[in-house]
């Protein structure tokens, strides 16, 4: 039995499902950010796997590199927003931020 593209795609699916469940159930804002990171890693794993098994030019790896850069930028902005949230609500529970509810 050799290692095929399917192995990596199934693992990416599991990782993505874990990420989306994390985003759905966590109330801690930083926990939600961790779920987003898991989903980005799942997408990245798929990109690199397709790059390895189908392509000649490293398009998939280039995309994965951009995804990593943008994930780092996203984490920085998200944590700055969470600090503001924490300053305003004295809590990191996202359920508290319901002032705009109609």
């Amino acid at each position: 039995m050799t290692l095929g593209l399917h192995h990596f795609l199934f693992l990416g699916a599991i990782l993505f499902a874990c990420g989306i469940v994390t985003v759905l159930i966590k109330r801690h804002a930083i926990g939600i950010l961790m779920g987003v990171e898991l989903m980005l890693n799942a997408a990245n794993l798929n990109l690199v796997a397709f790059d390895h098994y189908t392509g000649t030019a490293p398009h998939g790896q280039t995309f994965a590199l951009f995804v990593i850069v943008i994930a780092a930028a996203e984490a920085a902005v998200a944590l700055a927003i969470f600090m503001n949230f924490h300053n305003n609500f004295a809590s990191i529970d996202v359920d508290r931020g319901s002032e705009l509810r109609g």
Binding site: H7, A17, L24, I25, M34, G35, L38, M83
Partner: protein, 166 residues
Amino acid sequence: MDVALFYALAALVVAGAIGVVTGRHIVRMAIQLLAALLGVAGLYVLLAAEFIAAAQLVIYVGGTLVLIIFGVMLTARSGTSVLRPSRAEAIVAAVAGLALLTVLCVAIGSTSFPHVIVPRPADAVAPLGGALLNQYLFPFELASLLLLAVMLGAAYLARPLQRRPR
């Protein structure tokens, strides 16, 4: 050999991801996320993408995760590092996640992909650098602009709280 290595790394990744999903304490979740990210870096090495693996280690493990730990420390004053979801929310989320996983697995299982392994040159980093500086030069420069904007924006957003009368 490759298959055994894949399953070992996949077990590490899945264990870390499940730990993040079920974890209650935010610092433990961060450590489990670290395990998952390290496993993904190992899988990149297995896929002959050494540069991406190095970038994963340096940027994700060295940068993003440290940033997350800093965020945990800076927001820990309220003393609510343990937040439990309600039971109904957890059940709905689990059902949604399992449904998504089922759909994805059925879709992957019913698709036949061409099984070709293109022999890679011994130096796999050179074509990546060439692509970044030729074909993808514009997005590459745009990424640097994005990082500059993010640096300014994050520094502005996270400035010290000013006490002013409301």
